[in-house]
């Protein structure tokens, strides 16, 4: 069963960005430049936070705008990015309705969640969780 990262309860988010650092740490590095999850305030800290991450759409708009077939549908929902085919046109970044495709400054290519769940292990309050996609519908 394919998995996806689910934002369980965004109101629990304290904006610590430990998930963003975790995503980058997958590569043994620290920082922001390769993260595939993004936390920002919802118009100031007093209003809470927004968590942006790929929700593994059944029919992903980003795939439709990829001119080289670098982004393909993952069986069950979500996408797989083939970096070899990607020409860094950034159409997918613009094409994602929820803004969940980011730019990897190191590769100079887009970056999108690979549904590994590493970040969820560092969310102190259970805001995000890796969960199974049922019937491919998000």
């Amino acid at each position: 069963m394919p998995k996806r990262l689910s934002v369980v309860d965004v109101d629990l988010c304290v904006g610590c960005q430990c998930c963003m650092f975790a995503c980058n740490r997958r590569f043994g590095e620290s920082g922001y430049s390769r993260t595939s999850i993004h936390v920002q305030s919802s118009g100031g800290f007093e209003h809470g936070f927004i968590v942006k991450v790929c929700r593994a759409c059944a029919d992903p708009p980003c795939v439709k705008v990829c001119p080289t077939g670098a982004l393909t549908k993952r069986p069950g929902g979500g996408v797989i990015l083939n970096y070899t085919k990607c020409i860094a046109c950034a159409n997918c970044v613009k094409g994602c309705t929820i803004g969940a495709i980011f730019w990897d400054d190191v590769m100079d290519k887009p970056t999108v969640c690979v549904y590994c769940g590493y970040c969820a292990g560092y969310c102190p309050y259970g805001v995000i969780k890796l969960e199974e996609l049922e019937g491919g519908e998000a």
């Binding site: 740490r25 390769r34 007093e46 209003h47 309050y125």
Partner: protein
């Protein structure tokens, strides 16, 4: 992509000429490990001796250290400047996102000099600097509106810090603060006034760097062990109720300064306790970047509009122990909502909560004794517990209205010198007193701490331990404990780790944390660096005319009149301990 050891860039910005450039200083950072250590070295170089703190020559230095953006709980940025409040070392630490934003911009420090002719705000993205017109933001009522506007017109959502001043900073109130991410502050010693003197309204900093480790595997292991401490007993108090958890225990031990230290126990303690505020008002928790603790507790205060039925506003106001001490206990405000309303005003104009509360409590007592009259205050009468009057007074301080508030804007000592009542003007080293009447170590720490802060050497903690063990230390012992603690803390504030994580980051752990980055440095070497930093800070203080001996002649009589759990504090004991500290810090 940078290496984790790449911490060397100092971004210089001159507001007069509107020029900026980057200088690489790898040796400086390697020797002084960033933050406080690098900050003091830059300050002694960039600040000419005898500089006017509000003149263009006074630099603003904001620096970070090796662990920012690399390890969890390393969330502090360090500001260094010559303080307009006490005329010597200005040093203030803030969390929020500024430390991580600076690191992600690939920078180690920013040095801002000169003075803009017209109001300006800076946008720093990596090494790029833009000077933006801020005339329309100048004079704006609320500090948070300024943040909201910059947030809207600049990009960088989620990866930036926005530091700004309120009207108090613009009018150079000597304890004006700089606010970052709405709820965190470079609070003490008047950085906001220095911003104001330069016509600098705000700074946005952002970046998206990454840092490569020499040994990624052990990096992740050490990271995990540090990360897991956030729910441990080491940080439980900050995690659960936050710093207001201190209200009840300090009150129970009769160590919570109340009504300008006319008392040390406070009738509002229950209502203003961390427990009750959480129960009745806690609306949200937030965190500094890269810190899972989320110690920032934000109260939701729902208020009706008086003249519009069925209209309400809900204010989100952060609360902490020190502001509760200064703005509630010291002013005898006994209802949480009244304290929150006053706190909201303090945030709006951008003044240090502790200095403001101490100045107001002095003024209230002085008015009660007839030393000052309502006429000095534009007819405003200050009475214990009258939060409405205090809200007006804060506004007057920020705008420097009426002779009394204009004097209070210079600090409590200045006001007491002008009007009298210096025996109950509670400031040490020119900085208004923190909220611990725990015993002699607290006071020795206020006098000797390089920042005159309770966080320098944590004297209150020394007192509390001595009170528990029933054994008071001798003055030289107290001095040694304070000196050692303040020295170790220089290492943490150089890296720059939040002091709340001091239990997790022992010097041995710090030494281990350096290894995956490819830096070998022993705990002993770190301890030496810590002592050297403290001495360097003192060298700056001495250079600018600070004298511990002179400070000992200015102690307010009030502190010797109220008992502590360790008995009455004795003047001669304090002086003996202060002089012992001086010998340690001078190294002889």
């Amino acid at each position: 992509m940078m290496l984790a050891t790449d911490l060397s860039k100092v971004l210089y910005i001159n507001l007069t000429s509107r020029r900026c450039w980057v200088e690489e200083k790898p040796e400086l950072f390697r020797a002084w490990i960033g933050g406080t250590g690098v900050g003091i070295r830059l300050l002694e170089k960039e600040c000419p001796p005898g500089a006017d703190p509000l003149g263009p020559e006074n630099p603003i230095i904001i620096s970070i250290g090796y662990f920012n953006g690399i390890y969890p709980l390393a969330s502090k940025a360090i500001a260094m400047f010559k303080s307009p409040l006490n005329g010597n070392l200005g040093e203030s630490h803030a969390g929020g996102r500024c430390a991580v934003a600076l690191r992600m911009a690939g920078l180690g420090a920013v040095v801002i000099k000169g003075r803009s002719e017209t109001p300006v705000y800076l946008v720093i993205d990596g090494e790029k600097v833009r000077f933006r017109e801020a005339s329309a933001l100048w004079g704006m009522e609320s500090c948070s509106t300024v943040g909201r506007i910059i947030r809207d017109i600049e990009s960088g959502s989620g990866i930036r810090a926005i530091m700004r001043i309120g009207i108090a900073g613009e009018r150079m109130v000597k304890y004006a603060c700089v606010t970052t991410e709405t709820y965190r502050h470079f609070g003490r010693l008047g950085l906001g006034a220095v911003f104001g003197s330069k016509k600098l309204k705000a700074i946005q900093i952002s970046g998206r760097e990454s840092f490569k480790m020499k040994d990624p595997k052990s990096y992740r292991q050490i990271y995990d062990s540090l990360f897991s401490t956030f729910k441990s007993p080491l940080m439980k108090k900050y995690h659960d109720l936050g710093t207001p958890m201190n209200v009840l225990p300090l009150n129970a031990t009769k160590t919570l300064p109340t009504k300008n230290l006319l008392n040390e126990q406070y009738d509002g303690a229950e209502a203003l306790s961390g427990e009750r505020i959480a129960e009745n008002f806690l609306g949200r928790r937030t965190a500094c970047a890269h810190c899972p603790v989320s110690c920032i507790h934000v109260a939701a205060l729902r208020e009706p509009y008086e003249n519009e039925p069925y209209f309400y506003k809900t204010k989100m106001i952060s609360y902490d122990y020190e502001p509760i001490y200064a703005l509630a206990a010291m002013l005898d405000i006994r209802r949480a909502e009244d304290y929150l309303r006053l706190m909201d005003k303090v945030e709006e104009v951008g003044v240090d909560a502790m200095s403001t509360g101490v100045a107001l409590s002095w003024a209230t007592e002085a008015m009660e004794r007839g030393i000052i009259k309502p006429e000095d205050a534009g007819g405003l009468e200050l009475k214990w517990g009258d939060y409405r009057a205090y809200i007006k007074a804060v506004d007057c301080i920020a705008r420097r209205k009426y002779p009394l508030f204009d004097a209070m804007a210079e600090g409590v000592l200045f006001a007491a010198k002008k009007y009298g009542g210096d025996e109950f003007a509670l400031a040490f080293g020119g900085n208004e007193m923190p909220g611990y009447h725990t015993g002699p170590a607290a006071y020795v720490g206020y006098i000797t701490g390089a920042r005159h802060s309770h966080l320098d050497g944590a004297g209150y903690s020394i007192d509390q331990k001595m009170a528990c063990s029933g054994k008071a230390g001798s003055p030289p012992e107290v001095a040694k404990l304070l000196f050692d603690e303040e020295s170790v803390r220089q290492v943490l504030s150089s890296l720059a780790v939040c002091y709340f994580a001091r239990g997790a980051y022992t010097l041995d752990v710090v030494s281990k944390c350096f290894r995956p980055m490819g830096i070998e440095i022993s705990a002993d070497e770190l301890a030496n660096i810590g002592r050297a930093i403290l001495k360097a800070k003192y060298a700056f203080k001495y250079r600018e005319g600070f004298s511990l001996e002179k400070e000992c002649t200015k102690l307010p009589a009030r502190i010797f009149e109220r008992a502590t759990p360790l008995g009455m504090v004795k003047r001669e004991d304090l002086i003996e301990a202060v002089m012992a500290f001086e010998r340690l810090v001078r190294g002889d």
